[in-house]
Structures are given as C-alpha cells and as structure tokens.
Symmetry: C2
Subunit: 229 residues, 2 copies
C-alpha cells in the first residue's frame, strides 16, 4: 500500500540527501544504513509517514474514515478505559464541524491547514467512567490511539499533521464539550497536495529533512542518562 | 511478518467466536464483517496485536530492540520535542535494570510479568527542553511513540503488554530519575508463551475476546455525543 504514496517532494528530499550530515539524517533508509539495522524488519510506515502542510482537495472517503477510527479503537488502554473521543470535520461530509474546528486553530496553522479536507480533534476523558477517579493515563492512552490512527492513515496512502496550536477553549465552546473531556490536539488529514497551495514561507520549508534525537539520548538501562546500546 | 505470529491460543479464540455476541466481538475480522469494511485496507497489526500475560523464555535480540526504539523515535511530537525516554530491563542483556523495574510492579502484575524477558518503563519529560515551560502534550506524545513501538513489535512477531499497576515512586528511587521526568507505564515485551507458565487464575482468562466501545460512542461530528456515522 505504501508504494502508492505520492512522491511530489522527491526532488526536494533527494536534494536534501546530498546535504545530509550525521545530525540531520532524512529517512529511515538513511538511518538504517548508518546503524546496520535490517531495513526489511521495519514496518513500511516508518519510511513513508511524515507531516505535510500542503494537502490536495481530494476528499477522504467515509469508509477510510471508519477504518482509521477502527484502528484507533483497537489500541490498548489502562483498564481498557478507552479514554479517547474524536470530533471529525470533513469539508465534504460534515462541513459545519470543519468550520467549528478550523475556528479554533491559531492563524499560522489556519494558513496551511485550510488546504486539508478533514480536521479532527482528539480529546481525553479525565476521569474513569466506572469510579469517577482521575485517570492519569488518559492523555497517554489517547496518544496511543492516535498513533494507531496515523499509521493506519499511512497504510491507506493518507497523510496527517497534528497541531498543538489551537484553542481548547474555543473547541469546548463551539462543541459544548462536557467538563470531563479535554481537547488535546487537532489533526489535519488528507492526500498530499502541490506546494503552490501553500503561502511562500511554508512552501519553502515543506519536505525538509526530518530530525530526531539519537537513541542513546533517550534509551537507558541500569543507569539513567547512560546509553545501554 | 505477521503471518509468523504464533497461534498458541487459536483454540481458545476459535471457541470464543462461537460464543460471540454483538457487544463482545473478538477480532478485526469479525468487526469488519459486521461493518462491511474492506479488510484488505487494514494494517495487519490490527488483526494480530493483543496483550498477553504468558511470555516465553526466548530473549528479544538487541537488533530488534533497536528497531523498536527506532519506531518510537520517528513518532511525531509537539514542536518535535520528543518528550519520551525509556528504561530497558532485559533478562539477557541488562538483568539488573530488569530487577529494578520488576521491583516497582504491583504483586498481581509480578505474578505474570515474571514470564516476560524484557520490561520497559516509558517516561515523559514534563517541561520543554528549550523554554522550561510545561509541555501539556508530553504524555500524549509519549503515548504516540509507544503506539509506534508496539505496532513495530507486532511486525517483528513480538507481543507487548503495558501496565499501569506499578509504583512510579519506586522507579524514581531505583533509577534516580530527575524531577522533570515522569514514569507513565511499564511494558512487558517478548514472544508468546504457553499457558502453563501462568498461575491458574490468569491462565483461565488468557486469550479471552477483546472488547471495545462502538465507534458511535466516541466519534462525533457537529454535535458532541451524537454519532456522525
């Protein structure tokens, strides 16, 4: 499935390879070469998933949306509480919800997110349904469900880009959210689009190499802060 | 890769199919039949991932551990903060860390988790590295990284089972964790094992049908609490 993903930015990305340094590697392929890991053992999405800003007009069909939420649904959670909820705004099938979500985004995100055909709010339920006691794992569990969602999105040839830059207060007001629920992030979802859909400042940054910390800085063994590998 | 996953419990699971009800469906296959979704569109892990309690003695090799943390590493995060850290206890390669993590588990978890060859603590960094300001997305982002980790585990034929039942205080003390970091969960990781490795009470529950809420209870559109689908 991942082979069908559009490579509109392949030129940009290829070009970035030629400038790569040890601290700014670009894709899993490169990473794996440097670490002598067997690339065949990686799930395909690790190589293809990234968070674009330019989305195409093509709508996300309803079956695919159901499949994405099915993926989220089957994530594990503490006491199987499933503390996640989602609000879906789709330009083609739930345009009013789309506008109400869009309204909550900070302006710098509105400038590019307007290209996306779907916007989705992720929310966590702060207290356990059974006991009413605080669920300290709620946000973590919602994150896992969204992790499942975005990897399934990749599997369908879709792209997602999550934003922290939105107003939870506006979401709460626009959708009359009960007190027990907390909006955590807004995701733009769709197919990848041409760079000319973006303002210039954004277009020039699109497809830049992805950067991450090295494993030795976050995977420890017996001694905190010391690499085990 | 997923086709190689052992089906020790296939009898139990097949049997459970014969008792299935609308509210207690067992696998993605069943779910999809009931919803007329195209099963070919699902990522394989959705059908094969679950959280066992009986693990085999077989160690997890170091290359696979590196691949799993590579999957976590490439998760997205707010401002690319990557607020995740992990402590790895492996019976075969970091046994002291294993014992220090095991020590933090509540007794009911120790009874089964002792069968797992690897225990891993997930931690979130509460404040942004750059500004020192609180990162409200930290736990959510760690959850996404762990979501990537456990789907990659499935891709390698490995199983994981996360636990909230442990003492963060004991982890903090045993590993001298800095104040800025919060232990969120402990994961048991390994290959699936025979039921006779578990105490009877646990063995009888292993492989029971997985249950989740229906999408209509957590996927909303314009009106909170009303299904969009």
């Amino acid at each position: 499935m991942f082979k069908n993903k559009t490579s509109i930015y392949s030129n940009i990305i290829s070009k970035s390879f030629t400038n790569k340094t040890n601290t700014n590697l670009t894709t899993m392929t490169e990473i794996n070469k440097s670490k002598n890991l067997n690339i065949k053992k990686f799930m395909p999405a690790l190589n293809t998933r990234w968070s674009p800003r330019a989305f195409s007009d093509k709508p996300v069909n309803e079956e695919d949306l159901k499949i994405l939420f099915e993926a989220a649904r089957w994530a594990p959670s503490c006491f199987n509480e499933q503390p996640w909820s989602f609000i879906v705004g789709s330009r083609s099938s739930s345009p009013k919800a789309y506008d109400l979500i869009f309204d909550s985004l900070v302006v710098p995100n509105q400038l590019w997110a307007k290209t996306a055909p779907v916007l989705i709010v992720s929310l966590s339920k702060s207290n356990f349904a059974m006991t009413g006691q605080p669920n300290v794992h709620a946000d973590y569990d919602v994150g896992q469900a969204v992790g499942f969602f975005i990897l399934q999105a990749d599997h369908l040839g879709l792209y997602s880009h999550q934003m922290g830059g939105f107003s939870p207060e506006i979401v709460i007001k626009n959708f009359n959210i009960p007190k027990d629920f907390k909006p955590i992030s807004v995701m733009a979802l769709g197919y990848i689009g041409e760079l000319d859909r973006l303002p210039k400042d954004y277009a020039s940054k699109e497809g830049l190499p992805r950067a991450r910390k090295e494993q030795k800085s976050f995977v420890f063994g017996e001694k905190w802060g010391e690499s085990r590998i």
